[in-house]
């Protein structure tokens, strides 16, 4: 930035800015530190009246005990969460990707009417519809099933809207060339458009995966039986009932956020893009 300042003043401002950033960053890291520390503490040290910066004894048996404890369906709930997050992410990408492309590119007479009736549902906050959705899913007999947890979440109006906007900006010349070569809509989409949109697909995919993995209200409403718990519901049940060792609870939470921390390490670029795309769609 080409702002001219006296050297002394800019140095003071620079130091103040860095100090503020460092303090804020440390504060933001404290909860992660507490999570890791508590996950490796012994129960008696967690309950002791003194605050420990580090575990007096590093207790790794919390991790093994977690998967041996028959009271905690940890393996099962992780499996459920993984299954739900993967199928829902893939499903949303395919269903919304196709719909977004159709809305953007196929000159159907009622295309705009269809589009507006999709956008209209964006105005209704998703969380408020959990009562009617629960009524429907219970009528279908899908309570406590993976079907009930996955299928209603496959139809995301926001993702369809974003895909349509993205495909409207896709260079049309490339598609026209493919079309003239006889690929048709289907072939053009899968062989030309999708391979050239992988960045956008990754952005929507990562943000969908994170949202599904961390979802709480819908799995709470639908996952009544223990076999259908996601990892969030398992954690919440033991947190609100306070029925297991606290140190094991922290270890369970650490295990639960581990896949997402890995994603943040390796795919942060796409997550950031996904946040920018979904957030700005609000205006």
């Amino acid at each position: 930035m080409a702002i001219v300042r006296s050297r002394k003043q800019s140095r003071v401002v620079g130091w103040a800015r860095y100090s503020a950033l460092v303090v804020a960053a440390l504060l933001f890291l404290v909860p992660f530190y507490l999570l890791v520390r508590s996950a490796f503490m012994r129960e008696q040290d967690l309950g002791s009246p003194d605050f420990h910066w580090l575990p007096p004894v590093w207790e790794t048996s919390n991790l093994t005990g977690l998967f041996d404890n028959p009271a905690i369906p940890m393996a099962r709930s992780l499996l459920n969460s993984g299954l739900i997050a993967v199928t829902q992410t893939v499903g949303v990408l395919v269903i919304s990707g196709l719909a977004g492309y159709g809305l953007a590119r196929i000159p159907y007479r009622w295309s705009n009417t269809v589009f507006y009736s999709i956008v209209a549902t964006l105005l209704i906050p998703a969380a408020v519809t959990f009562v009617p959705s629960f009524v429907l899913v219970s009528t279908l007999g899908w309570i406590s099933t993976l079907r009930g947890l996955i299928i209603p979440g496959l139809f995301q109006a926001l993702a369809t809207f974003l895909f349509r906007q993205f495909f409207l900006g896709f260079p049309k010349e490339i598609e026209e060339a493919a079309f003239i070569d006889g690929l048709g809509y289907w072939g053009t989409f899968w062989r030309i458009v999708v391979p050239n949109s992988l960045g956008f697909v990754a952005a929507i995919g990562t943000i969908t995966f994170i949202g599904t993995w961390n979802a709480f209200l819908w799995p709470l409403v639908i996952g009544r039986d223990q076999e259908s718990w996601t990892v969030q519901i398992a954690l919440s049940t033991f947190l609100t009932a306070q029925s297991v060792q606290v140190s094991q609870l922290f270890m369970a939470a650490l295990v639960a956020i581990f896949p997402l921390l890995l994603m943040f390490l390796f795919l942060q670029r796409w997550i950031v893009e996904g946040v920018e795309r979904t957030g700005i769609a609000g205006d």
């Binding site: 719909a99 009617p132 954690l235």
Partner: protein
């Protein structure tokens, strides 16, 4: 034209009857067919899982529907009047207002501040951005666990009370008392930590879209620091700010996870501090399974949020015109 190409590629075939058939298939009907191949699956799902439940719910809201989704006893607007008269429902709306008054301005200011700081930083910029963004990976359940059992646990070994202890201050029972309402501090800080990174990213994107020539012009005019922010950065972020404010409000309105996980203990939720969705959850899906009142409540909440969104859009746009 496509049929000519096809016959060029397959010279062995007789092309006389084929082009006309192909041309017929590629007519308007073909476009209609392909549109529904692409858009149909989504539209069917949307109708079944969004439109049908909403219509059904509006229907249920006019009936006495305890434990049933096919009610017979029509009560007209009775459920709506009951909800509006119910002090618990009204207090849930007040709880939302109190929550929004805390959370919307603080999240807005802190995420904008973080974005401004990170944007001006050259050294380790991506590190700082990642640190503020990292909590987005956390679920509300995990944050509630850390806040409830570690930072704000009522005992001395909880971080907040340990810090107070270093200054010789007595331990505070953060969550076990309704008065003074310390639990607000617990709930608001948890959501702040989770959300700031998300909105910081939106502000950062907005800041990067501002043309550098504006800053250069300001520098030539001798403006710096606060003046640059006041006259260039903040006005240029108007669209982003509007979107962020609306998102913050809508998200605060839908708050459920942290209230449920931080405040309910041994499976019971205290009678206070119930935001609208917590109230709705216990009305419609609690032991009573009162779908009639639950649906009426959902309809009322949807209307409120639609009105808030429209009014906010109007107010901010009016401000725009005034400038």
């Amino acid at each position: 034209m496509p049929s000519e190409r096809a016959s060029e590629r397959e010279p062995g075939r007789l092309s006389a009857p084929r082009p006309s058939l192909g041309r017929r298939l590629r007519g308007r009907q073909d476009v209609n067919l392909w549109f529904w191949v692409f858009v149909g699956p989504f539209v069917i799902g949307l109708v079944v899982f969004v439109y049908v439940p909403i219509v059904w719910s509006i229907y249920l809201s006019f009936f006495n529907a305890y434990n049933t989704v096919t009610p017979t006893e029509f009560v007209g607007a009775g459920n709506y009047l009951d909800m509006l008269r119910d002090p618990a429902f009204r207090s849930s709306l007040l709880t939302f207002v109190a929550f929004a008054v805390f959370i919307v301005p603080t999240t807005f200011v802190i995420s904008l501040g973080a974005a401004l700081l990170v944007a001006r930083t050259r050294v380790m910029q991506s590190f700082f951005r990642s640190v503020f963004f990292l909590p987005t990976a956390c679920s509300y359940v995990v944050a509630a666990l850390i806040w409830k059992m570690s930072i704000f646990s009522g005992i001395r070994s909880g971080l907040a009370n340990a810090v107070l202890g270093w200054f010789g201050i007595d331990s505070v029972p953060w969550l076990s008392l309704a008065d003074p309402p310390w639990y607000w501090l617990v709930i608001v800080t948890a959501r702040l930590w989770l959300q700031v990174g998300f909105y910081m990213i939106l502000f950062l994107a907005g800041i990067q879209r501002i043309s550098p020539t504006l800053y250069e012009a300001a520098a030539i005019d001798g403006a710096e620091g606060w003046k640059v922010f006041r006259h260039i950065t903040f006005p240029q972020l108007r669209a982003t700010s509007t979107a962020v404010l609306l998102l913050l409000l809508v998200n605060a309105f839908q708050a459920f996870d942290e209230f449920y996980n931080i405040l309910s203990t041994f499976g019971t939720y205290p009678p206070y501090a119930r935001p609208p969705l917590v109230y709705l959850y216990y009305t419609a899906l609690g032991s009573g399974q009162d779908f009639g009142h639950g649906s009426a409540g959902a309809v009322i909440l949807t209307l409120i949020i639609a009105i808030v969104a429209v009014v906010q859009g109007r107010v901010l746009r009016l401000g725009d015109r005034g400038e």
